[in-house]
């Protein structure tokens, strides 16, 4: 299999796949790739990424693998193709999600402590139904409350490949005299 054929097959597979695929999965599931090294596959994936850089679709790497998707800046123009409007999420939901993402594993009580407000069951239900958040265990304190963490599906949805891509937000200085007066 020459590099051109390899690239053709990988490209077709990534376009046709019903979900994101890692290099390992591609090697495993495509019979002709059995003899191809993982390194060669990764090299071709990078070539494909470069090839599509300026196209209407791009090859991106998210948490669960590589997938082809449309350029983010075309989102608004493409929205007309679907009757349903994309979901919008409330500030309360996003703050809860951010807390779980940054402070995982975390209990509901701990979320409430930071947000100063009781966490609605609806929000936790939505986060779990979307499969962005899951229960990963129980905290060893009285009542053994559930511990929540984010899932790869969360990263995929927000186009992240790793939790480490979340920016550092701990800025202890942010509410001091200087910054407070500099605001506005």
């Amino acid at each position: 299999m020459n590099p051109e054929q390899l690239q053709q097959l990988l490209e077709a597979a990534l376009f046709a796949a019903p979900k994101a695929m890692t290099a390992e999965q591609l090697k495993q599931q495509l019979a002709p790739l059995q003899q191809v090294s993982l390194k060669q596959i990764q090299q071709q994936l990078q070539s494909i990424q470069a090839f599509y850089q300026e196209r209407g679709v791009q090859l991106v790497k998210v948490a669960s693998g590589y997938r082809f998707q449309t350029r983010p800046e075309l989102g608004a123009a493409l929205a007309g193709m679907w009757e349903e409007k994309p979901p919008r999420y409330s500030a309360a939901l996003l703050e809860t999600l951010a807390l779980i993402a940054y402070r995982q594993p975390i209990t509901r009580a701990e979320i409430e402590e930071v947000r100063g407000v009781s966490v609605s069951s609806q929000i936790m239900k939505t986060l779990q139904e979307r499969e962005w958040v899951e229960v990963v265990g129980h905290k060893d304190v009285p009542g053994r409350p559930q511990l929540y963490a984010t899932t790869p599906a969360f990263l995929d949805y927000f186009n992240l490949s790793d939790l480490a891509e979340l920016p550092v937000i701990d800025e202890p200085e942010s509410i001091t005299a200087e910054t407070a007066t500099n605001e506005e």
């Binding site: 500030a91 509410i175 001091t176 506005e184």
Partner: protein, 269 residues
Amino acid sequence: MSVAEQQSLPLGFVRGEAVVDKPEDLYIPPDALELILESFSGPMDLLLYLIKRQKLDIVDLPILNITRQYVEYVEMMKELKLELASDYLVMAAILAEIKSRMLLPKPPQQDDEDEEDPRAALIRRLQEYEAIRKGAEWIEQQPQTARDTFIAEVESNAQQHIEVTPPAVELAELALAFSRVLQQLDLKAHHHIQREQLSTRERMSQILQRVSEQTHIRFSALFSAEEGRAGAVVSFLAILELVKEALIEVVQVNPDSEIHIRQRGAEAR
């Protein structure tokens, strides 16, 4: 980062969008309160807004003013019977507690380190909350699936080529299944399996198979020399068993002619 942030501090998110229209002073027309409160995600959000709005140094927090403002909000909420009120009341209580502790003369302390500024805990909470709110804003601004990016869906003829691998079965599983069947049975009689019987039953299947293909088979063709005496016995037992079970017929046109076997009722079809 966002345009809204550069212009002025957003009041909060409404449906994910920063709201810049914030009340100019503490007076909020009662009919607008619900809408404005909806744009705060909770008491921490409101408190942070009040502090930022007054360009206050949180370390030198004028708790009295903030508390007064806060309580006014809470009063309005109570009037409007907003269900949010309870969480805000907790915050008002915290503020009032801090205020009272600040006003009271400090009891003489043996160890100064034990006495924490009552505002410090609140400041820490506000800082942590603000950090998380930044995180939430950042996440919200990431390209979202089905809003900003759409996953490519491409047709493929691959489905026509899918080969379904059938499940694997171990011989032991089969034997286990049979012993299960036997256990289910009302164990009365003649269910014993012997090697000999099995050979006979296999031969029965083979003979049946042959007569179904050929209709008539010479009796002698059912025996083969290579199998020896044991083989002949098995074949013969199988033929007898098949005759007994009325599955085949043995026919002989006249006493000297070759014996044939045929499927029972074959002529009926």
